[in-house]
């Protein structure tokens, strides 16, 4: 137990790095995903194809490969980013693709009659989306968003490939230093706590956004 208390401060530092990656990715990739999905359901064939291609690339290659790409390949075309930012760019671009598909499916699940009613009430595109469509979409997409968010908690451990001291890498360093696997167990507990918090949070959100269905 003593040992646990000794390593916890170090591991909390690792948690902070992981949490930063998590939070910044969520905050940036969700709005980007919304924009991409609006393009994906827009009338423009060209836009649909371009975004479809983007989603294919992002979902079709490993996130780790994308992190390497941003870190090692972009400098050769003159874009050089620090470690942390490199990882974030890859995370945001990758997760935006997944969120785009979630939002697209949500938007397409709204019956055509909702758009027609909005049209006959004189609403423009923005009013229709903001007031009528998106509030209903949120209700539909919360479960898959919750899924994706929990996946992200664990995906943050991928930043170790850029030698960043996140929770996972900190744990591994401690295990190698002390020949003791306890840090792995502590790391697991931290990940589980994060997931538990998200699970409870999303349950509340789901309840809130589905109140009109009860």
């Amino acid at each position: 137990m003593d040992y646990v208390f000794r390593i916890v401060p170090q591991m909390l530092d690792g948690c902070l790095v992981s949490f930063q990656v998590f939070l910044i990715t969520i905050v940036l990739s969700i709005p980007l995903g919304v924009l991409l999905s609006l393009g994906r359901v827009s009338g423009s064939q060209l836009l649909q194809k371009i975004i479809g291609f983007y989603v294919w690339i992002m979902r079709g290659t490993p996130l780790m490969l994308q992190i390497f790409f941003v870190y090692f390949v972009l400098p050769s075309v003159g874009i050089r980013l620090p470690d942390f930012e490199s990882a974030l760019v890859a995370f945001v671009l990758n997760y935006a693709a997944y969120f785009c598909e979630i939002f697209r499916s949500g938007i397409q699940a709204i019956p055509k009659g909702q758009y027609e009613a909005a049209h006959t009430l004189g609403m423009n595109y923005l009013q229709t989306m903001r007031r009528i469509i998106l509030p209903q979409v949120i209700r539909i997409i919360l479960p898959p968003i919750s899924n994706e968010t929990i996946t992200l908690v664990k995906d943050t451990s991928l930043v170790y490939v850029l030698a960043m001291n996140d929770l996972m890498r900190t744990a591994r360093n401690l295990v190698q230093r002390d020949f003791n696997i306890t840090p792995f167990i502590v790391a697991a507990v931290f990940y589980l706590i994060a997931t538990l918090i998200l699970t409870v949070l999303f349950e509340h959100l789901e309840k809130h956004f589905s109140r009109y269905e009860q």
């Binding site: 909702q114 009013q127 009109y212």
Partner: protein, 252 residues
């Protein structure tokens, strides 16, 4: 004065000609019932009036304002903002109600008057409450649509359309998805509206309504207006063969 004037309306879905040169005139205070077999283009015609469907050819004039006019190559619409403005001169009631499920009854009513017409919210709420009592649903003010029966939902939909103070009301088979025992309450609301001299176009299979409430009946089949006239002319002395056959089947 003409509230609606549609001339030579043509509309094709892929290769299927749905409307083949329709003319329709609706005067102020008239209640026009559009009847005819399914697939005859009734709903499509209605949806062309507020540009839920785009016409391929023809002219549509609503309340003295041109929505689109026929050109040598088909038709030309006015700009987007004018389309929106003209379209919401007509309240529309759908077969599937299309209430906004995430809003309460009152929120459904006030949404567009407040956010589109930018009217004073307190004023709009007051009027919405009067409309709700008119359709007999004051007690459902704060319920979500899901909690209401089909007939109640449709009456809310009528009230929502009326909250925009439309010049014309369009009804697209308003009772077709209702259980028989619920159609009465919706028809009663529509009848009251007709008595207040609201200009109405009603696509319907309710022959009783067409007979008793309509001032003009339009019979459509195969994308054409086959015959039109007063309810007495249409139901008691039909001339068109298709109309006679239709009435034979429907009135047995």
């Amino acid at each position: 004065m003409n509230k609606i004037k549609a001339q030579n309306i043509w509309k094709k879905f892929n290769k299927l000609e749905v409307l083949k040169g329709i003319d329709l005139e609706v005067n102020e205070g008239e209640v026009v019932a559009v009847i005819g077999p399914s697939g005859g283009g009734k709903s499509t015609l209605l949806r062309c009036l507020n540009k839920l469907e785009t016409v391929d050819r023809g002219t549509v004039v609503i309340d003295g304002e041109e929505l689109c006019h026929e050109t040598s190559v088909g038709t030309e619409y006015v700009n987007k903002n004018d389309i929106r403005r003209i379209a919401c001169k007509m309240g529309m009631v759908f077969q599937q109600f299309n209430l906004f499920p995430h809003m309460t009854v009152l929120e459904n009513l006030i949404e567009a008057p407040v956010n589109v017409q930018k009217r004073d919210k307190a004023e709009v709420i007051k009027e919405a409450e009067i409309l709700l009592s008119k359709v007999g649903l004051s007690d459902k003010r704060d319920e979500y649509p899901r909690k209401l029966s089909g007939g109640q939902q449709q009456r809310v939909a009528i009230a929502r359309a009326l909250a925009m103070k439309p010049a014309i009301m369009l009804f697209d088979e308003p009772t077709s998805s209702l259980d028989p025992e619920l159609t009465g309450e919706v028809l009663k609301t529509m009848r009251e509206l007709a008595e207040e001299k609201m200009t109405m176009v009603v696509v319907t299979h309710e022959m009783g309504f067409a007979k008793e409430v309509a001032t003009k009946v339009v019979f459509m089949a195969d994308g054409r207006v086959q015959e039109q006239g007063t309810p007495a002319e249409i139901f008691d002395s039909p001339k068109n063969e298709r109309l006679k056959a239709f009435l034979n089947v429907i009135l047995k």
